[in-house]
Symmetry: C2
Subunit: 325 residues, 2 copies
Amino acid sequence: MADVAREAGVSQQTVSRVANGLSNVNEDTRVRVQAAMAKLGFRPNFAGRSLRSGQYNSVGLCLYDVREFGNLATVDGILSAAREHGYAITMIENVDDNLSLKDVSHKITELPVDGMIISMSLMASDFDSFKPQPGMGTVLLSMYEHPCCTTVESDQYGCSWTVVEYLKNAGHRNIRFVAGPSYSIDSNFRQKGWEDALVHFGLPVVQPLAGNWLADSGYEIGCKLSADTEMTAIYSANDQMALGIIAALQDRGIRVPEDVSVVGVDDSLEGYIPHCNLTTIRFDLLKRGRTAFEHALLGRKPGYTPEIVRIPGRLIVRDTVRNLH
Amino acid sequence: MADVAREAGVSQQTVSRVANGLSNVNEDTRVRVQAAMAKLGFRPNFAGRSLRSGQYNSVGLCLYDVREFGNLATVDGILSAAREHGYAITMIENVDDNLSLKDVSHKITELPVDGMIISMSLMASDFDSFKPQPGMGTVLLSMYEHPCCTTVESDQYGCSWTVVEYLKNAGHRNIRFVAGPSYSIDSNFRQKGWEDALVHFGLPVVQPLAGNWLADSGYEIGCKLSADTEMTAIYSANDQMALGIIAALQDRGIRVPEDVSVVGVDDSLEGYIPHCNLTTIRFDLLKRGRTAFEHALLGRKPGYTPEIVRIPGRLIVRDTVRNLH
DNA sequence: TTGTAGGCGTTATCAC
DNA sequence: GTGATAACGCCTACAA
């Protein structure tokens, strides 16, 4: 900036005014300064600006696993909300299973950020006792509620109620659940929702089998389930396993949905397989990201009180459920 | 930092030494300072540090579309390389189709970054004339070569040679190609590679049909292709369309691979469908990201000369190709 | 309209 | 081993 000032024969302050588009600059001077800027390839220095303003215009993001379903679209939502606010996203990887929320939060605090969004797929050891950095809007992507931080998550519990109620209304009474891995928080909440809904509607609860999210594990479970002559519907904790289950049933001569209905979660197969006809739950993951970002910004303000945001899923009705009435 | 100094009864300089773990500090003093730090919740200020050092320890990233296949795993690779170097990633969204490389590069330069990685899915209008910011390692994720910037990309051209040569060796002569959308650079390079390889091996070239990457468009194309009695193999520009093609052929009584062999690209179906048996090309997308990051760092150094990095794909042999010999 | 002074938080350098 | 000083680039406040 000093160089530009010298080149244009003005003070640094005038250069600063031009750089920020302030109005109180003579038109001739402005042109001269802009010429000097262009000539020297001037770009305002981020550190100087931030040091002065105390702001970074960026929000930190730490995801436990970028590849996990849902995180991708969430990043998309965060980025788009950030762009609208003139913000960037500063991202770091968390590979350490044992890292506490405090550690992660400290790491992010050392980056140029005004707030942070943290997703920890496993339960952090210090989840409940964690205190966010003062003045830092801190948002957790989590189904667990937190005393001091806003938590945002797709409603992994409510989606099961939606499914069970839909199946019950279609006349189903024996509704099996196929779970994901036992360490998965999402799977656990989906299972709890299924169980609670069954109990609420007075339907029988049978201990669920668990897979590993992948289609092949769904196939294996489908083979086992095919022996069950009571069930009329299967609710799978994700779409991939649902696909495997359907294949296994069909290989055994059990028709879907004529003999058994199947419902998945995520709506992750569209475009991947031809004539995708799986009834499933779709979450608004863009909104998940956008909401998290908005709260990370709001959270800086003094009067802010943390919220619990659960973004509902929508049932996408396709052809894998039969109405028994 | 001044507060910590006062609390511990030492100078700021000593606090700085402790914060940076320098050795020339008395053990007693160190303990006292650390206690003060903990008490006041001291975190070093990013802006101050950067202003001093002229470094940010972050690399800028601008992807045209995070959701595009390959970008996700690439982000993963970039993040993991970044973490190993103690770097963060500063990300912005680019939604503007008409944005020039210069515009994007300027935007990123205003962020706290020491280098940048840019992916523009469409051809930038100023691609060839673009000059990177001096002192900024600038890496383009692109199949097009650039005079001044390192370009990194999965080898979208070579993968087709691999496929064609493999099919030729299995005795196939009539090998159709199914393209993606015409604006897709990846699809164009895959097609060019297929064509060049066919010509090289003296095999007949038939004008390819184009889909939209999705499985259903593959199904439609499969229906049309099923009329072709000459072909013994189909090479699809991605796996989803390949799946649609296979479904269409089978619906018409054409067996895969007994009657027609099918090969895809991306290896994107594993886990998504049960008993995935599609022969395909797998790219090392983590490496794509890691390499891009490494070069963005190296590119800052004065002696650095830009490189053209093409990361080869690997043929994943499964069951959808028949050996005609 | 333009210029000057000062300070944001950090650390390199030199003096003690 | 520790402290004082200055400087990184920018912008607010004030003076001219």
